[in-house]
């Protein structure tokens, strides 16, 4: 049976909480109107106050600001509703059902690069299938670039099929 890939939580899941709270707010306005009209509370209806505003020839600054905010929020909701959940880990070939996060691959690559002779510091960044290793080399160790490529490739062999790019900078004496 095919299992679903591990995925991040979709954006819509967070926005849905906001949408549910908005619904509760609307329900509160409707309930207050009913309570006010039936005389259960002495306060004036909020809904009537809002409807009275509709007779204005032009909306006030507050209504306009609220309207534009509502339109932007609605657009965000609509886009998020169709955004798929992103995959959180990369699959690894083998008999085990193993998945590795891109951050873990970066950490392994940085460690492999830092252990190469002549490298003072290394940091990695993964974008899609491209791993960029930025290394700070000790003076007169330009040849370490090839060693970094080899070390990172050997360390990641078997878990991540990525294109490795090394960007090296020589430290000042």
């Amino acid at each position: 049976m095919k299992l679903r890939d591990p995925r991040r939580r979709p954006v819509v899941s967070t926005l849905a909480v906001l949408a549910a709270l908005l619904l509760i707010g609307l329900a509160a306005v409707l309930a207050q109107h009913a309570a006010s009209e039936r005389g259960w509370t002495g306060a004036d209806s909020w809904l009537r106050a809002a409807l009275a505003v509709l007779d204005d020839p032009r909306p006030s600054v507050w209504v306009l600001t609220g309207g534009i905010a509502a339109a932007l929020l609605g657009l965000w909701f609509l886009v998020a509703a169709f955004l798929p959940a992103r995959r959180s880990h990369l699959p690894v070939d083998g008999i085990g059902d193993l998945w590795v996060s891109p951050r873990a691959v970066e950490a392994l690559a940085s460690d492999a690069a830092e252990r190469t002779p002549g490298v003072l510091h290394a940091a990695s960044e993964m974008r899609r299938r491209r791993l960029k290793v930025k290394a700070l080399l000790a003076p007169e160790h330009e040849a370490a670039v090839a060693d970094i490529l080899e070390a990172v490739g050997a360390r990641l062999h078997g878990i991540a099929e990525v294109e490795i790019v090394v960007q090296a900078k020589e430290a000042n004496r």
Partner: protein, 187 residues
């Protein structure tokens, strides 16, 4: 947290309504489509003044808040039942509680793979349970040891449960922050 199935359709509908309300206000201000000038507020006021309106508003308030509360509560995590029926012979039947083997799987992974802080999550899968182990990698780890550890764990589970009652999946995350490391790193 789980993601309820209602999230996408309900958020899309609410998004459309918000967008329509916002567009109406913009049209009111700049008179782009002339919609607002044709709006007769008299009919709206007549409906609100009608005797039935407060009851309809009350019913709508109850229905909306019930849906919103269900929607909020549906995302709270639920504990999956741990029982798994093993293959039975004749009238005998054996149920296994998957919860009993999860700590063992966590220990096995922590011992055999260069990882630490293994956590687990169980979820129901058609006819069985999926045990998802999640761990932080040791930055000194090499790929082969991770692959071998996950492979031997899967193999052991597959041997113990040949009919796939329990399936194991391993997720490897970035190392924990240096500050949280228990032993100092020595270069």
């Amino acid at each position: 947290m789980t993601t309820p199935k209602a999230d996408r359709p309900a958020t899309a509908v609410i998004g459309l309504l918000l967008l329509a309300a916002g567009a109406a206000v913009v049209d009111w201000r700049w008179d782009l489509a002339g919609m607002w000038t044709r709006l007769d507020t008299g009919e709206v006021d007549a409906a609100v003044d009608a005797g039935w309106f407060p009851w309809v508003a009350l019913a709508a308030a109850v229905a909306l808040s019930a849906f919103a509360l269900w929607w909020l509560l549906a995302r709270l995590p639920r504990r999956a039942d741990g029982r798994v029926a093993l293959a039975s012979s004749g009238s005998d039947r054996i149920d296994l509680d998957a919860r009993s083997i999860v700590p063992r799987l966590r220990d096995d992974l922590e011992r055999s793979a260069p990882v630490d802080r293994v956590t687990s999550r169980r979820s129901e899968l058609r006819g069985g349970q999926l045990v998802q182990l999640r761990a932080n990698v040791d930055p000194r780890a090499d790929a082969a040891s991770l692959v071998n550890a996950a492979g031997s764990l899967t193999e052991a589970v597959r041997t113990a449960f040949p009919d796939g009652e329990i399936t194991v999946r391993v997720l490897v995350d970035e190392p924990r922050r240096e500050r949280a490391r228990r032993t100092p790193r020595v270069h």
